[in-house]
Symmetry: C2
Subunit: 235 residues, 2 copies
DNA sequence: TTGACAGGTGTACATCGTACACCTACCGTG
DNA sequence: CACGGTAGGTGTACGATGTACACCTGTCAA
């Protein structure tokens, strides 16, 4: 009786609840922690129950990505194309940084859900509104690539999940010497990025700066082409 | 006896043979077809035998990527930095196109093997040799991002492995109408890219052109910064 | 002759996605 | 009120995967 009279022994499942739980789990424990079984357990339900709400794991992932995209700020008005695109992309970046797993998830899927298409369409609209030809809009969207999602492949990142024992001081010294010999330019870059303090290289990059540096470089390039009257490729 | 006297009943395993077989298999059947078990079978060997030559599957993938990188052309001499970087990146692209799985493999791994580091170091050297400060070199490498490997995330790609039944003519018509309403700018772009022939959108993009368009846009931007005497970020 | 060791084997386990048949509670219709 | 369809949750089962661990075997140096 005690059990029966409890008003809702378990909140009923729904696609939305499944997706939101998955997002929360991924936020906390990484995308690798998402399994149909684990997720079901967290929802107090048998694994197969999820399949009544999402077709399969791929669709689950797509849905999670959609939720992130829905966090993007709506377009602000009163901005010219350049400021508009810039602010939208940086807003996308903020959302993706809130959900670190999203970068990998976006990279690995190619499903064009309505949410994805909607975002792309509205970005394209910003360029068109700024006087870009359809052709030029096409090319600049390609040039932005995944940067429209607010991230760059982070070339100099720490390797993911490297949990070897930290090397001893002398091992470290020896590695550093060999590294300096084999990769002098990378060393130089790393020194520049960290102002000479190499402890924790990789964490030394200011990713936000790098992102905006590249974004502005591209936007400036776009602007120049558009002003020059670039309309479509010759031939 | 017949069996014993056969000179080599099976070519002996080696790390190299394992990796090359894996690359060939991935070339033929995609990265998804790479499993330790399948690979072992192809080599006429029990799965665990592979572990005497590669530490685990991750290392196998890293090794495969290294093989692709080793196909990149060596730096040509007599070129200025811009032509040099351009030709190296385009050479990387040719190699990656030869091994279509490599794009995904490179995106998903972050291990910096000596081969990876060597390539990055030599690219960085090209910029340094062209008069770029270490700081600027760092930033432009970030700006290139995965483009140094010769690919862009292909925003408008066909979704991978969509094997649903082809829609009927009327379904197609209805979808097209709805699409046009919801995503007018994407439609416009697609029309531009395909010169009005929408059959097989997505295949309509000239990826090579898009790649070079973006690459040159970036390289021109780099050149401009370098000429302006950009050395390091203020502050 | 011996014994170490590199390289190949066999068994076993945990984990995963998901197909399929089933049950059950509800709700609109007769 | 009876009833039948249906949405949603259950249980069992299968095949695949990566890989730990103990084992065997052939080769070669001492």
């Amino acid at each position: 009786m005690a059990e029966q009279s409890e008003p809702t022994r378990r909140a009923p499942l729904s696609r939305d609840r499944v997706l939101r739980t998955a997002v929360a789990r991924a936020d906390a424990a990484g995308i690798g922690s998402i399994s149909m079984r684990g997720l079901a357990q967290e929802l107090g339900v048998v694994p197969m129950a999820l399949y009544k709400h999402v077709a399969n794991k791929d669709e689950l992932l797509d849905g999670m990505v959609d939720l992130v995209i829905e966090e993007f700020d709506p377009p602000a008005d009163g901005l010219d194309w350049k400021a508009g695109v810039r602010s939208r992309v940086l807003s996308a970046r903020r959302a993706v940084l809130r959900h670190p797993w999203a970068r990998l998830a976006i990279e690995s899927r190619t499903r064009r859900t309505p949410t994805v298409l909607g975002y792309m369409d509205s970005l394209a609209g910003a360029f068109r509104g700024g006087g870009f030809s359809a052709h030029l809009t096409h090319h600049v969207m390609h040039a932005l690539g995944n940067r429209i999602w607010g991230f760059t492949p982070e070339l100099f990142d720490e390797p993911r999940g490297d949990d070897a024992l930290p090397p001893t001081a002398e091992e470290q010294e020896a590695m550093a010497r060999e590294f300096a010999q084999r990769y002098p330019h990378i060393l130089e870059i790393a020194m520049a990025a960290t102002d000479g303090d190499l402890s924790g290289v990789g964490g030394g990059c200011d990713e936000q700066f790098e992102f905006e540096f590249a974004l502005d470089l591209l936007l400036d390039g776009f602007e120049r082409l558009q002003r020059q009257g670039w309309v479509r490729r010759p031939g």
